[in-house]
Point group: C2
DNA sequence: ATCAATAAGTGCAACGGGTCAACTTTTGAA
DNA sequence: TTCAAAAGTTGACCCGTTGCACTTATTGAT
């Protein structure tokens, strides 16, 4: 307890304070997830989660703005990966094709690989409140994506076609919900976007 | 008050019961709308609305499942019109073109005609909760629209491309939100869909 | 070493949307 | 006339969420 020098040169030059805060946060998220898996999202109350993590509900809400957020802890980079999928796509690949690949890779395929992740996915889209929240969060990347699309395609930044493609691409996985074969559904949906984009945009 | 015979041969051969029920419903919706306009959606509580209509909150919720529903009373036919826009489109017109026309007509243009309707629109998309609710309701027509599209195009009913077009078409007005010129944004978005559809589908 | 400032956390009461169960009235019809 | 269903009432209650006043660390500057 006497590290005057920069204690941990790791990624976080944090003090005891920040560490404790992070610990509380993790405790909350873990307790919540455990309880949700055990008994289902709706059957678990906020007060119970706070109890399990041994904090007050007020504290809980200082870490997570709403109940749904407890499920989606730590998913930064999401946007970065999305934008990179478009910006760093292999030469010759169209923008919609890059987006399709990204969608298939991260929103469809991942399901049948990781076992924990499968359970997580089942929890999420078995719970309307969580589905909606996830989609809302996902759509927050729309403007950023639209901007990247504009840059990559050389279209004016305010051309609404960019916003349209961004929106549709982000909605595509949702459009595929309920189909027996989501993989094919996503593929087909992006076919539509790709052909349309090729005809409407100049660069692509 | 002594009409033993079928009093009003109008559209509703309803008894006193149904009439009273409808009256209560109307009273609630009107009170709610009036208060919302006066002070804003979020500043008006459910209990206050119930009071204004002189019923209990329990009764209110027997007529409207959630607070948002108070704003969207009586909008049946919506789906019928939507499906008709596709089914009865002029010969030679593509499905996406028909959908674009419908979108422009009912979700964009109507704003700058009727004065009351403009106020209503402002209320709705000035209130996130109402926007979200409206969109959720609107998306409920997705499967019906997908089916109509399949029939009209001759594609197999379970081809996910139909669901995709339906979903995108219903989302298009939303994709245009925030643009300075919504009309053009919607048009461009449907351009994308039209070209894509033409290339992907056979009938169109 | 000390001290004020800051931020985390607490406890509790409250609010607003929404539900529930039990009970009273109306109303339609047998 | 009688009876069952539907509409409405009442009041308590749950749940997510917020506000407020308060305690307790932790920190940086002195």
């Amino acid at each position: 307890m006497s590290e005057t020098t920069t204690g941990i040169p790791a990624k976080a030059p944090e003090g005891r304070r920040e560490r404790k805060k992070a610990a509380t946060r993790r405790a909350l998220a873990e307790a919540a997830l455990r309880l949700f898996f055990e008994r289902g999202y709706e059957q678990v109350g906020i007060r119970e989660i706070a109890d399990a993590a041994d904090v007050s509900t007020t504290t809980l809400f200082k870490h997570f703005p709403v109940k749904e957020a407890l499920v989606f802890d730590e998913d930064a980079q999401q946007e970065a990966r999305l934008l990179a999928a478009v910006g760093d796509r292999p030469p010759g690949q169209s923008i919609p094709a890059a987006l399709r690949e990204h969608a298939l890779r991260f929103r469809i395929a991942a399901v049948d690989s990781d076992a924990d992740f499968r359970a997580f996915t089942e929890l999420v889209d078995g719970t309307p409140a969580l589905r909606d929240y996830a989609q809302r969060m996902w759509l927050r990347h729309e403007t950023a994506l639209a901007r990247t699309i504009a840059e990559e395609s050389g279209l004016p930044a305010d051309d609404p076609i960019c916003a349209a493609l961004a929106h549709f691409a982000l909605e595509a996985p949702r459009a595929a919900r309920g189909c027996e074969d989501p993989r094919q559904a996503v593929t087909r949906a992006f076919d539509l976007l790709e052909k349309g984009w090729g005809a409407v945009a100049t660069g692509g």
